[in-house]
Subunit: 213 residues, 2 copies
């Protein structure tokens, strides 16, 4: 999938939400949806939706709305979800365990193939069907299993070293939960997740609701 236009970060950020909502519609047996109905579900204006989807060539027919299944599949393709991504988790603490048990990842095309830690008391234990592996076996593991995505769930202080090590080994993407932004490496895409951002957004909404009382 290539596209000639530079797609803005904000549009890309909305694609997973479109994908999730369309998946729910599909599961409920909805065949078509107007940009207006999609808009009221998604808290985005209808014109924004039309504009976003036009970035990728447009999928709607004036007056007929969108075909849910074909739009769902097209966005899935744009997101690269059907190519299969072998995924590893680094860090078997509470967050790593929670993420390893999170079945939605697999449903979206992210196949968990290994969980790693450096703590001898954790190595050899199991999370679901995954044995926690020694981080010092990662080099050999990468050659055999060729994961392309690593989820980083290690303490803040260890995150930069882990990222550097994985970048050298040819990882393609890092999903970083370690509460510190990871710097760019050539050829490695990074997505930093900040759980407290959502809490701050919620705080804003509460304040603003008060102000409107």
């Amino acid at each position: 999938m290539t596209s000639s236009k530079k797609i803005s970060f904000e549009v890309i950020k909305r694609l997973p939400r479109y994908y999730r909502y369309l998946g729910e519609l599909l599961a409920n047996g909805t065949a078509r949806i107007s940009s207006k109905d999609l808009s009221s579900r998604m808290n985005v204006t209808a014109s924004q939706i039309r504009q976003d989807l036009n970035c990728f060539g447009g999928f709607g027919q004036q007056g007929y709305g969108y075909n849910v299944e074909s739009l769902y599949r097209s966005i899935g393709e744009i997101l690269g979800l059907y190519n299969g991504h072998n995924t590893i988790i680094i860090g078997a603490g509470n967050l790593g365990r929670a993420l390893a048990s999170y079945r939605s990842f697999e449903k979206r095309g992210f196949k968990l193939v290994g969980v790693f830690d450096n703590n001898p008391s954790k190595i050899g234990q199991y999370i679901e069907e995954f044995e926690i592996l020694d981080i010092d076996t990662i080099e050999a593991f990468m050659q055999t299993h060729k994961p392309d995505i690593a989820v980083i769930a290690v303490p803040k202080a260890a995150a930069a070293d882990v990222a550097k090590r994985l970048a050298k080994l040819g990882i393609k993407g890092l999903l970083n939960f370690s509460y510190t932004d990871i710097d760019a490496y050539e050829g490695v895409e990074i997505e930093n997740v900040h759980l407290s951002d959502s809490l701050m957004t919620l705080s804003y909404k509460i304040e603003n609701a008060k102000a409107q009382d």
Copy 2:
């Protein structure tokens, strides 16, 4: 804090990121920053930053950039971070435990005051200094401690019931990690967190980097 204009959801979503970046600048001793420098750090255009901050009355001085500390404090106020939010966590599984140990929440003004579960084998255990409380004591707890935010980290099937129960008890905000969107209740603000969205965004970036090779 009141504002006469309706602020768009997209702008609000960026405020926590501004707040985090400005906090880092402040910690590094940076006194002033131009919208251009802030923009290169944040992956948002400089004009977008000026436009965003103008929504709240504007803080910059043409040619002088922004005063980091005053902008940081102003955004914190807009986000309502200085009012103190007593926060509870419902669900003491892996994710609930990870969130309860996450010290950044407290630093942002979200004070954890209780952790609840319905599993007898978990009730009475400790996460850090917090004893896991029986969810059936939540009614009395709400009256005494008056938490205004609940973080929902229960299985998908239990989320709607928990949300309904808390809404009746007067909770003001729900941060929902339960992999299913929670419907609106009057007087309750809801922020649904979808961890797989970030993974999908990362997948897009990887695909797109390939296309550019």
